[in-house]
Symmetry: C2
Subunit: 250 residues, 2 copies
């Protein structure tokens, strides 16, 4: 039988506010469209609603830019308060050129603006990445697993650019309940050849797949991926971060 995977968007979520119980709202929205969370599902949840529920929002009007942020603002024409927030979220600036700021976040992710985002928030407020996205994923996983009585995995996704290729893709920034990678190292192909360097970043591929039903403009912030046979594990997105000393491009 041919393998088959379904990706189902969860629509009908309300506008998320700080303190909201995301797991409960996701379950309610899923049931509202006549479906339940099932054993073996992978729930992909966009960072934006996680950040909102966790109150990871900053009102730029209350930000006092540092000298470094002001200097960067003078050089780039960008908002010094936004730059200040980006600097606070970064452990290092990887590149700063042509209006693009590529940062290494405190978590170790390399992305534009340290994940600080002005879209889908409103009125001078920006959103930050969740402080501990693995723990965010685990909280949602634990509550849903208990309330729906099933074993599932949860991925927190965000939209990142990448070198060499145009366009953004969704990647995993938080993982709970599954191994973020699938390892073929040491296994043999049908010709008996050993597959030496084949570790697939399945959590990133699941995040990318989920994006196909998450329209940026149509409020589908959650997707259920059903039918994918993942390796159950505690899980963490740290396994997707290449250590700086082994990275040829930092």
């Amino acid at each position: 039988m041919a393998p088959q995977v379904q990706i189902i968007g969860v629509a009908g979520m309300p506008e998320i506010r700080p303190g909201d119980d995301l797991a409960a709202l996701i379950l309610e929205a899923a049931r509202g469209q006549g479906m339940d969370v099932e054993d073996g599902d992978v729930l992909v949840v966009t960072q934006k609603i996680v950040s909102k529920a966790e109150g990871r929002l900053v009102d730029l009007r209350q930000v006092e830019p540092s000298a470094r942020a002001q200097e960067m603002a003078a050089r780039t024409g960008k908002d010094a308060r936004l730059l200040e927030v980006i600097l606070r979220e970064s452990q290092r600036i990887v590149r700063q050129e042509r209006g693009v700021i590529i940062c290494e976040t405190k978590h170790g992710f390399v992305c534009a603006n340290a994940g600080v985002d002005t879209s889908n928030v409103g009125g001078g407020v920006v959103s930050l990445l969740p402080e501990k996205p693995d723990e965010s994923a685990e909280r949602i996983r634990a509550v849903l697993a208990e309330r729906a009585g099933v074993s599932i995995a949860v991925i927190i996704s965000d939209t990142f650019g990448r070198p060499w290729r145009e366009g953004h893709t969704n990647v995993a920034i938080g993982v709970a309940g599954m191994s973020p990678v699938k390892d073929y190292v040491g296994q043999t192909d049908p010709h008996g050849y050993v597959l030496r360097v084949s570790t697939m970043a399945v959590a990133d591929e699941l995040a990318a797949a989920a994006e196909l039903v998450m329209e940026k403009l149509s409020r589908v912030p959650v997707a259920i991926v059903r039918g994918f046979d993942y390796e159950r594990a505690e899980g963490s997105a740290r396994g997707l971060i290449r250590p700086r000393e082994r990275d040829l491009f930092r």
Copy 2:
């Protein structure tokens, strides 16, 4: 109604040989598992079977390594004949460090070993990327569209690594019948904010999604993605290559 996308692996393909009619074999295998190609489907086909059907295979025993390849072999301990093939497929070496050779292929893709691959081929033979992957995709698309009487899109996928993040993901190296990107630039989010930098690389996300049903070891070299609302267009994977002069990491 919530958006929903299905990813269905096409199993039961025979071992592909040079000259094989891939489109016919894909249609036969799909029908053999009781399904047809439907209007609006995206077919994701792994590079390996395209390269085999197109005879993009090189027997290393017939390769005469150049002085440059021999010098690289002496320095790295790698097979000089393999290095020769990699050099022939490259327009430029982007990085060469710690046993990794990141190349810019003649097409402009940046990837390890210029896409030259020893796995799933057999006996001293390596596979090269298709010479013109967009044309490979278009040939499959045109034949399938005609024989099944439907309008579809075709993506040729390959497994690439990436900077900063561990693990490989599938990306699109050839595209026909759809725009490889979805552009949100200039559209407004539900708060009325303009989404300034949101071009999603949907062809790469489709390739990644397809990988979820393509087990490297179980001969599922084709997947049908059903239910994704793509923008119909001639299509090309060139739109996914960031021009060198706009790339901060080359």
